[in-house]
Symmetry: C2
Subunit: 117 residues, 2 copies
């Protein structure tokens, strides 16, 4: 079960950049972090995504195919986020202002529990 979108973004970045170091710089991670992300993803999917090539790595055919699927998924994420942003702007009166976001842990689902119905 896929749950981590960061890893998926890094995966696509590595395929696009052609190297872990370049992808890590792009994403603001250390190279070690991205290397581990790839390893975890690879194990979870059970697919060999990269193979060594000279000093670096190169995506396998399967890796490139899955990267295409991952891009579509990321596109859908973007669509969701855009929809959320649009709704947030449109209903900016409903949540007047995030104010302080005082609660450190709380959910603040209901700020003022209005009577009912």
């Amino acid at each position: 079960m896929i749950d981590d979108l960061h890893t998926l973004r890094s995966f696509v970045a590595v395929v696009d950049c052609g190297s872990v170091v370049a992808a890590a710089r792009h994403r603001g991670y250390s190279t070690a972090a991205v290397s581990r992300q790839l390893g975890r993803l690879q194990r979870r999917l059970g697919v060999r995504l990269f193979e060594p090539a000279g000093r670096g790595i190169r995506a396998t055919d399967e890796g490139r195919r899955l990267a295409d699927e991952a891009r579509q998924l990321i596109t859908q994420v973007r669509i969701f986020e855009d929809a959320a942003s649009a709704i947030a702007r449109e209903a900016t009166a409903t949540l007047p202002a995030p104010k302080a976001l005082s609660a450190s842990d709380g959910s603040l689902l209901v700020t003022a529990r209005t009577p009912s119905q």
Copy 2:
């Protein structure tokens, strides 16, 4: 930036079930966990997703709209996972057997670093 699919699944579950307790049971979480997930999601999106209704809660119009978007996103996740499974089965010879998965932390990207090219 959305990164947590667990929360999105819980969000849809709450909208579908109509209550936090039912959704939590479905997803195998405590009610407190799901309540916090909703609160975090709501803050991150800047959208009021639920409002109190009697003893429980009820999705707002915006919440229902975003739940629809979330369902599409989750569908795309399913598509990605299915593609990965298909590729994993198809190329089951490339990764002969997960064997022991001995490494506790390592990425195992390259099990045997073959010469080059």
